[in-house]
Amino acid sequence: MQFDWMKIPYSLLTLFIVVNFGMILTAFIAKIAARVGRRNGIRIWQNYADLIKSYGSRSSITHGAMFYLAPVFRLTGGVGLLLFVPTIYGSSMFSNLSFAGDLILALYFVFFGTLGMALGAAESGHPHAAIGVSRGLSQVTTSELPLALAVYSVALQYHTLSVTAIVAAQQGGFEHWTLFTNPLAVAAAMLAFLGSMMRPPFDVVLAPQEIPIGPPTEYHSSYLALMQTNRAIYPIAKIVVYMNLFFGGAGNWPVFFLKVFLIYMVSVFVGVVFPRFRVEQSIRWFLIWAVPLGILSIMLV
């Protein structure tokens, strides 16, 4: 197999664009949320300041090897997820490293960062971190289920697991999007999406005062900086998957920006409206509302 070395700079370019987009997008979203509360909210460049500050922190502590490595795992998970999925449809430049694997790779690579983060947090020895992980893992078992069902449904629908092929099948007008050809699957997947965005009503994992922000409670300085970077990349990367599977992908960057923003907004809308669920409540909620949709979509596809 001949490896195209140009993939590397192109991928780094994608990464660069997405990081910056993510930084600004999250700030923008925060501003929108602030406006809902009639505040001005943070400045649009606030994330950069926070990030630089974290990198500029002079001291840091470490609880051990896994604690040290966790942010690396976390960010590797985010970057990997981004790079294993083609960002822009039809562009060989921005198809990234998707030659390494298909949709399944992307779906399972999500857990890479989660697992690493959980391990690091646990090594800090802080009970709150462990409690947070316990909640997060508990919730993810059922919140991922509708997504898995939707993906299965989509793969059945298009008879492929290749992301590129799935996007290709949705080209030629928005009526070909999975959103319209398989609405149940999309509905299920979007509910799962809510669960994975760590926003209300599914953010009891972080519970800022009860278990001060849960798993990352001991993280600071450059660790935190890596995680902040990830926080910019990871939701985008995830949304890219959703976009490719359900919303026809993006043929160019403006469409990409728009679609990602809109999809992101779904979770924001829900988040600002609903209060928080307890873990067992959210588990039941997913089982009762989201999973049947997924099952229906499988049966009907």
Binding site: A34, G37, R38, R39, N40, G41, I42, R43, Q46, Y48, A49, D50, L51, I52, K53, Y55, G56, S57, R58, S59, S60, I61, P208, Q209, P212, I213, T217, E218, Y219, H220, S221, L224
Partner: protein, 213 residues
Amino acid sequence: MKEELLKRTVKGPDGVEFEVEPLRDYYCEAAPTVMHGAYIKIVEDLFNWARAESLWILGFGTGCGAIEMRPLMTPRFDAYRYGIQWRPTPRQANLLVISGYLSVKTLKRAIRAYEQMQNPKYVVGLGSCTINGGMYWDSYNTIKRLDQYLPVDIYIAGCMPRPEALLAGFEDLKKLIRTGQAEGANQYAERFDWYKTNQKQVIHDWDMPEYNW
């Protein structure tokens, strides 16, 4: 000394007995060191700018002044637009606001919280009580001068200061930071013994390591 910090003899699973000394075994014994900024000035300036524009306050209300902190989050004052936000964990905060009088009992917690924050870190004394004890100047139970115990970067006078005053104070703090004058953490490390002596003079049930990493 609290019982759980006393030396104890335990028996391992292989039946061998050995001693556990909690303060040595469970806590890091290292003393804080002075941490210098980046070697290249422009980088350090950039960092100082970022530090000033990203003030993360530890959500720790020590006295009655805490009540004046809350309005800062409201739409009326909206401190977020100045890059100020609250963090629940000292690890991630770089600003400790001592909000009003500080009882001796709370001082211990404040010291611990302060020491667990990372360099660079800033202390703001809020209200008169932190300056000279205020109306509690003769109380047996409060400390009178905060800067004998923690390196205070800036005081905001008043009893209590209004939120506007706080915002003004934070702006002043930002200026200090930007100019590289807010080096309280290094000061604390340099005069570590002095601070500790002062602290131990008022805290009689000292039950923690010298420095809480």
